[in-house]
């Protein structure tokens, strides 16, 4: 079943076409990677999928609904969550609170019940905390739940971003360079976590990544962008042997 179907996406900034006629189809339960040199338009593409930018052209269908033009919060509420390349946590909130914010769309306590602190609200809040701690435990951060997010070590911040995304109970999770800046040890742990997201939680994962070993190891499909255009698509073996990819990517000395 197709979960995400982005067709012919084009987006320009001024004179620069950042994403040019890119099509990406993601089957449910897959791990798909989008790779390409720096400036190839990968993050812009993510920003279009999540509604931060409106595409100039093209359609996005997520879980059977057209979403191009929807607001980011609406898209997030439909079950598409993301992490950010440059880690955007709520630094002055605690780790637990960050995850609770991620659960926003699943908390429904009405204003008046909150003000009167109705029993239902206390119940919902207690359940939410419990769920949030489960999520934290899943990524291995439960013991740090009371720390401020900004005080976490780098690798933990990446994991917290994933926990926060998981808190929204997404169908699809978009990870923007989840291992950037990590040492080999941390990268191995992150790879394992991503695989578990799919295998244990049944999530569909779309990944932007520079670490080729990781990409080749876990992706079922890989799309390659260069100068905003998709130049190749296929499984790891296909991509590895594609001369255009080698030229665009490795030929330019990008880390492989």
């Amino acid at each position: 079943m197709t979960l995400l179907d982005a067709k012919n996406i084009t987006k320009s900034f001024g004179g620069l076409t950042a994403v040019n006629d890119v099509t990406l189809t993601v089957e449910k339960g897959r791990i798909v990677s989008v790779i390409g040199p720096n400036g190839a338009g990968k993050t812009t593409f993510f920003n279009i999928l999540t509604g931060i930018y409106k595409p100039d052209k093209g359609t996005v269908v997520f879980d059977g609904r057209p979403i191009a033009g929807s607001r980011p919060d609406q898209i997030a509420a439909l079950g598409m969550r993301r992490t950010f390349q440059n880690i955007r946590l709520f630094g002055n909130m605690t780790v637990l609170e960050n995850v609770l914010v991620g659960m926003h769309t699943h908390l429904h306590a009405p204003f008046w019940s909150i003000v009167t602190r109705a029993g239902s609200v206390r119940h919902e809040e207690a359940r939410a905390r419990e769920r949030a701690r489960e999520r934290l435990a899943y990524v291995g951060l439960d013991d740090k739940r009371d720390a401020l997010a900004k005080n976490l070590p780098y690798g933990d911040q990446r994991r917290l971003e994933i926990a926060r995304a998981l808190a929204g109970e997404p169908k699809l999770i978009l990870l923007d360079e989840p291992t950037a800046g990590m040492n080999p040890n941390e990268t191995a742990e992150a790879t394992d976590l991503i695989r578990r997201l799919r295998d244990e939680l049944g999530l569909t994962v779309v990944l932007i990544e520079h670490d080729m070993r990781l990409v080749m190891a876990i992706s079922e499909r890989i799309s390659v962008l260069d100068y905003g255009t998709k130049i190749a698509e296929g499984d790891a073996a296909t991509i590895r042997s594609n001369p255009r990819v080698v030229e665009a990517y490795l030929g330019k000395g990008a880390t492989a």
């Binding site: 812009t44 931060i52 919060d73 709520f90 909130m93 605690t94 909150i114 009371d146």
Partner: protein
């Protein structure tokens, strides 16, 4: 969540016994007894009484900051604010009036804190919502209504109570009306536009005496109705003889105290709810917040409406208490005053904002006039102080300095929100190292 941090500084270690354990009970009890005795035996307005009064209010704060049993806290605070202060008020009406005014500003500051402190939206026209509530009751409860249409007659004074709620609603509605167009704006633009809005409301109040006399222009509205004293008879039955003046003082004191308590409860519940977390997330990082499914405009509107509704309700009470309102009551300086309360106390911190509001009110009503008296005495004694210099007339200078100094040296306020304190300082270093997140995400890289 809030883990008890071990005392760190020498001062904290030294004063720790006063805040927890049996010594704390002793300290608070003794402190309360001494203050009460001093106030009740010597209620005459003087510098000494001023100081004791401030110490008395500080005691309430200490009580809440100390780690004593909850029932003791609540009991002591209730006794101080519900019994000692009103009795003292019957002996000297000036101080209970100060306390009432402080309460009014605590509510306003808590309301503004929702907007500025929680959601991070700088609103410089906040007093406009206060004006809306005040004019609502001012116009509808007085013959001013007949000016608008001779067929209408003022609402009866007993309607005061439903009108407090109506003021709440009216404030909220105005909050949404202003918020809808402007909340998409970036922070600094929002500040200027809200300032403009505040001015527009004031100019309207000043000029809506023509072609139809709605607000009575710069003359203001006089003889605003007060609710009937339904409790006067039972009190007399108890043998307590107060004149109406005193009864109204007590009435407004307790009315304001009640609203303050309700406001504090509402605000702190919101703060620890999904709504408060969403506000805080928006303040921290809008893009990340929206990616969690938080509808930005709706949540900001809610913050605006909640903040404005407190001001609207308090406006009704204020108009009735003052009996008279006019446009200058609601000028920019008043908005700045309330902002100064929030900033001084600590943006986002409920105890901080309460402290800030009380302090600034005391500054305006007690400390500055007292300083003026002292200066005048010094002048008479031959000190070379210019005759024209009257500290009560230099609020702008004082609050201006306060804003600048707070921003430079302690942007998190006196009693910062525990989790926010580090933010404002650390952001300065963090931003130098990496580009602001907005741009990093905007560059079409990837």
């Amino acid at each position: 969540m809030a883990t008890t941090t071990p005392p760190s500084s020498a001062w904290e270690r030294l004063t720790e016994p006063l805040r927890s354990g049996p010594t704390a009970y002793g300290f608070l009890g003794l402190y309360a007894a001494v203050c009460t005795w001093l106030l009740l035996t010597n209620p005459r307005t003087s510098l000494g009484t001023d100081i004791v009064f401030v110490l008395f209010l500080l005691l309430v704060l200490f009580t809440f900051r100390s780690r004593v049993a909850r029932p003791f806290k609540i009991g002591l605070a209730a006794a101080l604010l519900g019994i000692v202060l009103p009795i003292f008020g019957t002996l000297n009406p000036f101080y209970i009036d100060v306390a009432t005014q402080a309460g009014i500003f605590v509510t306003l500051a808590l309301g503004l804190n929702v907007v500025v402190g929680f959601a991070g939206l700088l609103d410089l026209g906040y007093v406009a919502f206060f004006a809306v509530g005040a004019y609502l009751w001012g116009i509808l409860s007085t013959p001013q209504l007949t000016e608008i249409n001779p067929a209408w007659s003022p609402v009866p004074p007993i309607m005061f109570y439903p009108f407090v709620l109506l003021g709440l609603v009216a404030g909220g509605v105005f909050g949404v009306l202003l918020g809808l167009p402007v909340l998409r704006l970036r922070g600094d633009y929002l500040a200027i536009v809200t300032l403009g809005f505040g001015e527009v409301i004031r100019v309207l109040a000043n000029n809506l005496d023509k072609p139809v006399n709605i607000t009575n222009g710069s003359q203001g509205i006089r003889e605003i109705a007060r609710p009937p004293l339904i409790f006067a008879e039972p009190l007399r039955g108890l043998g307590l003889r107060f004149d109406d003046q005193q009864l109204y003082q007590q009435f407004f004191y307790f009315a304001v105290l009640l609203v303050v308590l309700l406001t504090m409860i509402v605000v702190s519940r919101l703060k620890s709810s999904r709504i408060g977390r969403a506000w805080e997330a928006i303040r921290e990082d809008e893009t990340a917040a929206i990616a969690q499914g938080i509808p930005l405009v709706r949540m900001k509107l809610l913050a605006f409406a909640v903040g404005a509704s407190f001001a609207g309700a308090m406006g009704v009470i204020f108009a009735s208490k003052q009996l008279f309102i006019n446009p200058p009551t609601f000028d920019l300086l008043r908005s700045i005053n309330i902002l100064a309360m929030v900033i001084l106390g600590g943006m986002g911190s409920i105890p901080g904002v309460v402290l800030g509001a009380v302090f600034v009110t005391l500054l305006n009503l007690q400390i500055l006039p007292r300083t003026a008296t002292v200066l005048r005495e010094a002048q008479d004694a031959g000190f070379p102080i210019p005759e024209t210099f009257d500290p009560t007339q230099y609020q702008r200078l004082l609050f201006g300095l306060l804003l600048i100094l707070m921003m430079i040296f302690r942007p998190e306020g006196i009693l910062p929100d525990e989790r926010r304190s580090e933010e404002l300082h650390e952001a300065q270093q963090a931003q130098q190292e990496e580009p602001p997140p907005e741009e990093a995400a905007a560059t079409p890289a990837g």
